[in-house]
């Protein structure tokens, strides 16, 4: 029972960052209809920027997180501007191949810039874990969860309460009509991609100090983000948030009770099972798939 409780706490902490990753990816897919293979690289980029600001420049820990998020946003906007802008309306396979190309370029550029040796970012918080009864939580992880939840809430507010969010939702529903109503579709696309990328970078900046930072860290992040998004249904933001926690839970349970070697396999098994029984995702209203 105590063990289960600890797993649930771990679930919450990982789930927060997974949800960030998933929301970013699902936003981009929902609005732009682009399967973003660079998502995991943006996650790795966020982590490296965290390392750059916090360790190399020696800036404040929390300020570094903010800067890393902004850096992710800028890179996202740059990718959209150079690669996707002229290919708007191209079929989904074309943009997918573009994104795979960009993924390879980004990952190897990271390897070239930072070298293959894993980097770590020291945490300014006390390393003694916080012990509540049978559960122990490190301060760093609790902080990660807190910031992740704040970012999720912020994203929710941007999408549901601002004019920009309204324009984004309109584009999501029908980009043609939205354009006729005076929404600048190109700007919305750039902003959507930047916002999604910023969320991925945020997840990287938050998890970088928890784990180590390595050039290939983005691969699994991409694939996990896909798993989360499929769980929730492509383009479904609430679904992605819940999907993040479900994936974290199944990984915890899989690693804790089956075998830690198969921790990373849980996401893919979930994808396969969900698509077998409910291809539109767990939380989707009926929609066309594909």
């Amino acid at each position: 029972m105590d063990q289960l409780l600890q797993h649930l706490v771990n679930t919450l902490i990982m789930g927060g960052t997974y949800a960030l990753l998933g929301i970013g990816l699902t936003l981009i897919f929902g609005i732009m209809k682009i399967v973003n293979f660079t998502h995991g690289e943006l996650y790795a980029f966020g982590a490296y920027m965290m390392y750059f600001f916090a360790v190399i420049l020696g800036m404040d820990f929390f300020l570094s997180i903010a800067f890393a998020i902004v850096a992710g946003m800028v890179l996202g906007a740059a990718i959209e501007f150079t690669l996707l802008r002229t290919k708007r309306g191209a079929d989904i396979d074309t943009t997918m191949i573009l994104m795979i190309g960009a993924w390879i370029v980004l990952q190897n550029a990271e390897q070239l810039t930072w070298g293959g040796i894993a980097k770590s970012v020291p945490s300014p918080l006390p390393t003694e874990p916080l012990v509540i009864g049978p559960i122990s939580i490190s301060y760093l992880r609790a902080m990660v969860l807190l910031i992740a939840l704040m970012l999720i809430a912020g994203t929710y507010l941007v999408i549901n309460r601002t004019k920009l969010g309204k324009a984004m939702r309109a584009t999501f529903q029908d980009s043609g009509t939205a354009a006729l109503m005076g929404v600048n579709i190109s700007a919305i696309y750039t902003m959507t991609f930047a916002l999604g990328s910023a969320l991925a970078a945020a997840a990287g900046a938050l998890l970088g100090p928890v784990f180590v930072i390595a050039p290939t860290m983005g691969d699994l992040a991409s694939l996990k983000a896909f798993a989360i998004v499929i769980l929730g249904g492509l383009g479904n933001i609430t679904g992605a948030a819940i999907g993040g926690f479900i994936l974290a839970f199944s990984e915890e349970i899989g690693a804790g009770y089956i075998s830690s070697g198969y921790r990373d396999a849980m996401g893919f098994l979930i994808i396969i099972i969900v698509l077998l029984f409910k291809p539109t995702g767990l939380f989707a209203r009926s929609e066309r798939i594909g």
């Binding site: 897919f29 399967v35 690669l83 002229t86 290919k87 708007r88 309306g89 191209a90 079929d91 989904i92 396979d93 074309t94 997918m96 191949i97 573009l98 795979i100 190309g101 960009a102 993924w103 390879i104 370029v105 990952q107 190897n108 550029a109 390897q111 070239l112 691969d219 694939l223 896909f226 798993a227 499929i230 492509l234 075998s259 070697g261 198969y262 990373d264 396999a265 996401g267 893919f268 098994l269 994808i271 396969i272 698509l275 077998l276 291809p279 798939i289 594909g290």
Partner: protein, 346 residues
Amino acid sequence: MKRFLPYIAVAFFASVPLWLQDQYFLHTLVVSGIFMLAAMSLNLLLGYTGQLSLGHVAFFGIGAYVSALTSLGFSVSIFGFQITHEPWPPVVGVILGTLVAGICGYLIGKLAFRVRGAYFVIVSISFAEVVRLVALNWVELTNGPLALPGIPPLTIGFEWTGYATLWGKAQNYYVVLVAIIIAYVIIKRLVYSPFGRAMIALRENETLAMSVGISVTKYLVLAAIFAGAMAGTAGGLYAHYIQIIDPMVFMFLNTVTMVIMVITGGKGTLAGPLVGGLIFGLAPVVLRSYVGPELQWILYGLLMILIVFVLPDGIVPAIERWFGRSSGNADDQRPLTLETSKAPQS
């Protein structure tokens, strides 16, 4: 002229080991040939049915592992049952690898073709990742990250002729060349059969194809079986040539290599994967003296992006357009399509 081109190409490539002194270059040609075989199989799915399968390396790896394990022998316990397998000849291994990969193609086709587009792509990636993790973690069978060493090379021959073991690069080169020719002929016959026309119809317009009575799932699954089996053969040849395999064979970059070969050469053309395969198989040899592996991958990535912008149909269709216009060939490999170019709407 065009009719004789395949024969000239075959004659040229058959002569290569006779005059090529550089053993490293010959080795690169063998490995590229194996990847070309895999790329040809991927082209069936990506080029002819239009389904972007990004888990293709799974079939390749399954073929490699099945073939290696068949010829090495293994002993595992599953649910308390001890299963022991004595080593069989490598040729049987390759055949079994082909069959098992084909069966996996059937199962994954049945599963994955319930969905399309982005969903299909993600399912195919997931499948490859699950297979990779199994290869990594089922240590009793696959030796996990420690790899399976000492895979015997292919032997050919019959009881009455005696057996020849193919140790050398030149012998393996001819095996791969023959395999590519056979695969080419099979794919050509498939593509020009009613089955091939059904695949192309599905690629062009699935709803319309269904309305004229083409069974979507049946043809897509059939394509997945052929593609899986052919990739399995490539994997088997790879295992017996390299003689050691580890879970790295399931690297996503291997799938990417196949995809680049197909789209660079020209998806949905018979010669495309071969042209793309030659370019990307030999590029590392040319590049290795100038750039490190990371920069080489960066160039690959940039080339991929460039191709989408400059030659969205690939090299072979571009060349055909260049030469085909004057001769007015009836042998156009790209059948009539509803949308001849996939140019972006602007």
